[in-house]
Symmetry: C2
Subunit: 523 residues, 2 copies
Amino acid sequence: MDAAEFRKRGKEMVDYIADYLEKIDKRQVFPDVEPGYLRPLIPDCAPQDPESFEDVFKDIEKIIMPGVTHWHSPYFFAYFPAASSFPALLADMLCGGIGCVGFSWAASPACTELETVMLDWLGKMIHLPEDFLAGKDGQGGGVIQGSASEATLISLLAARTKSIRRVQSEKPELTEADIMGRLVAYASDQAHSSVERAALIGGVTIKSVPSDDTFSVCGSALKKVLDEDKASGLIPFFFCATLGTTPCCSFDKLLELGPICNKENIWMHIDAAYAGSAFICPEFRHLLNGVEFADSFNFNPHKWLLVNFDCSAMWVKKRSDLTGAFKLEPLYLQHHYQESGDANREQCNKQENAVTLELRFTLQRLDLLRKKIYCSFAFLKEKYKHWQIPLGRRFRSLKLWFVLRMYGVTGLQEHIRKHVTLSHQFEHLVLQDERFEICAEVVLGLVCFRLKGSNELNKALLKSINEAKKIHLVPCHLREKFVLRFAICARTVESTHIRFAWQHISQLATELLKTWQQNYHQQ
Amino acid sequence: MDAAEFRKRGKEMVDYIADYLEKIDKRQVFPDVEPGYLRPLIPDCAPQDPESFEDVFKDIEKIIMPGVTHWHSPYFFAYFPAASSFPALLADMLCGGIGCVGFSWAASPACTELETVMLDWLGKMIHLPEDFLAGKDGQGGGVIQGSASEATLISLLAARTKSIRRVQSEKPELTEADIMGRLVAYASDQAHSSVERAALIGGVTIKSVPSDDTFSVCGSALKKVLDEDKASGLIPFFFCATLGTTPCCSFDKLLELGPICNKENIWMHIDAAYAGSAFICPEFRHLLNGVEFADSFNFNPHKWLLVNFDCSAMWVKKRSDLTGAFKLEPLYLQHHYQESGDANREQCNKQENAVTLELRFTLQRLDLLRKKIYCSFAFLKEKYKHWQIPLGRRFRSLKLWFVLRMYGVTGLQEHIRKHVTLSHQFEHLVLQDERFEICAEVVLGLVCFRLKGSNELNKALLKSINEAKKIHLVPCHLREKFVLRFAICARTVESTHIRFAWQHISQLATELLKTWQQNYHQQ
């Protein structure tokens, strides 16, 4: 395919996407296919000879679409939203067209620099404390990660290194393995499983802190486990607070937790994957109070800020905590940074400052900073044995730039507020029906609800909802209760869709209760 | 922006991208900007009110393009190629338009199933042993990762768990921490730094195995370090072999290394990030001989197979090694899989099989399998406390599907062969000039060369090349030598560009040698 054909096919694709999104409400939100449906529909191996675009294009409706769960349907209320907007789609097209791999400043200066500035824009929109911004010469700053899980892992690893160094300096008789064996990370019993996984990867123990009856962790609960663990010789080093938990969108009490963490030398990371976008609205910003105590903070514009996946924004107060995270011997580091004897040393230092700018603590880019800096004007530091191939990154900040500018702060606030209003509308409908109960406070765009009665009854209700396939929901457990989650997801969802969804659920509940009571009487 | 405006703007963007790529040879390959260039060009914070598409669009040429390193310019010979093709761009547009987050089968069946089948297609194209394919009921299979580094990390973590379990069953008196402290991973002294980083993240020791004078690791070198380490009580558990190293595209000797790893219970992972694409050509497939001994294998279609970033293909022989990797207590696992008492158990099992299909060992998806499977028909397993939010994935297999079909195997072979021919053309030009030397065997699309003489001389040559900005190269170190790497990169690079590049380098060398000799005489 040459550029001329791309012009033609690209425009056809633009129309296809516009058609798809304009008429997505006409498609069944959840597909009918059974597992394994696709393999029999396509050949066993790749074709030897090229096929035409038409051949491939017609298979989209024939093979792909029948197996797609339509996340942007206004009848999709499952999981949390996946952001999508036209400005973001345009930016992603441009990102693909430029096709640079921005692993370092030199590999594409615009890619690195726009990211730094966009994360400052975004940080200012949610009024992050200045410590977290890069500015012209700040110690903190933001970076785009692929997911909140990556952000959690990176902060846990940075905390691990920092703690090992601190403990080693206090008790030089302990080996790294001794210390690792005593480190403990903490998170709410409502926290996302990625926190546990981060600890497993990092080889440290993790413990759940019990949440209270609003599903929030409070200071006293954390203090209790810390005291117990310290008494038995363990070393608490990391706490992941959640703002907007996955099951029910509850909020840990940062203002109580933060001072404890600071006092105890515990790294506090805040995971606000879903809820973070709401903090651009002044009326929700109070939920972030206490962030000033945190070491790192993360939320996903790819969930609720109209920036297509993937765009997870992470900030830290001290970049150096991260850039030093993967090497435990500070001497080794110093060795590399303090090398001299290069005739162009001054220029090289100038380059290093430039490189500092570019190396904004993604896991991928740490190596370049640490050991093998490639100076763009060919001053390779002595003893840097290998030149390093990128651990690539796409030009993801373009999406933020397009979305923030073409919506403006007010446009994005409007989007958040519409979703919150719709969730309260749904909550109100549920509350008017005595058969149902609300299971957790509705703060943002998620409503947790259930039929008063057994878990089996509610499982049956969810089954009938998802088998009817007019809307799509997923469940969660809150303590011992099986609960239905109703998340406001689509950019285009409106009040009519909410009313339709509720009428549908209500009717299925009526039918279910009829059968259920009959069965009950038969037993 | 509504769908109607997206139709208009999307088409303008298609034309902009086509123009950019058609005339990319007219742009200076490496930008003129200095670090920090971008911040003064844009406002300090996001606009309150929406800006128009025109406002944003005109800033692309004004603000972004002056800071772009043009990876797809035919004058770009740096790093390794970043793949780009029109079919892949079209597929990525569709991926964005659908905008599903494919973290599980139910979240979008097509997304999961197409990936399985595409990885089988790709595996067959390079004649991977059948063990690595998913087929209808194989134990192996492939998955798309974001980068080769992720693949290395995941295989190392899987190997770590497997080894800990094995050693614990043999020597129950050892704790997990005892065993972790003795585990050793290995890779060539030419291996990518991501292998070292994977070990740092995983908390295990890693050692370099010396490569021979062709920069390859041979069996005897590995055996020597293994014998020494075993004698001192260490536990070798992981070897990362490289096919096509970053500095000079050398190849570790799989046929010698594989049997040693198998005998010693060492997980062998093969990183063929760049070189792997070449194995679709029968004349290069012999370089992969020995893959039959490996546990996992990885290469990056986003480097050399015309599939835009990110698309890193990873295969394993035993999916269960990975799906079990993040939990060290097999009993805990069994507990969850062996739960009974569910009225719908049979149907639930059926769902679990479906889920097995979908859960193809990405780091992200392991949790769902391990603890909290969400059955699409609402059979939540008892005791799975929380419903889990996705750790998302884009619909990346669409790119593979479009590219493999629209190029066909023959079209892709043609692309690889053109690049290899061009690298030999460049090698030939270098060899005809007695001032220069070739520093490593040219096997695929990379030529390592230098002026005969000091490292300082070669640094000066690279500096003059990159300051002229007519072409772009990066260096490497091979042992003590500073070497220039000339990598064939762009899809559109032709023989004329190679000749131009050589004449340019040759002329700069002449000028440099003149000054250099003058300075030498003056000293």
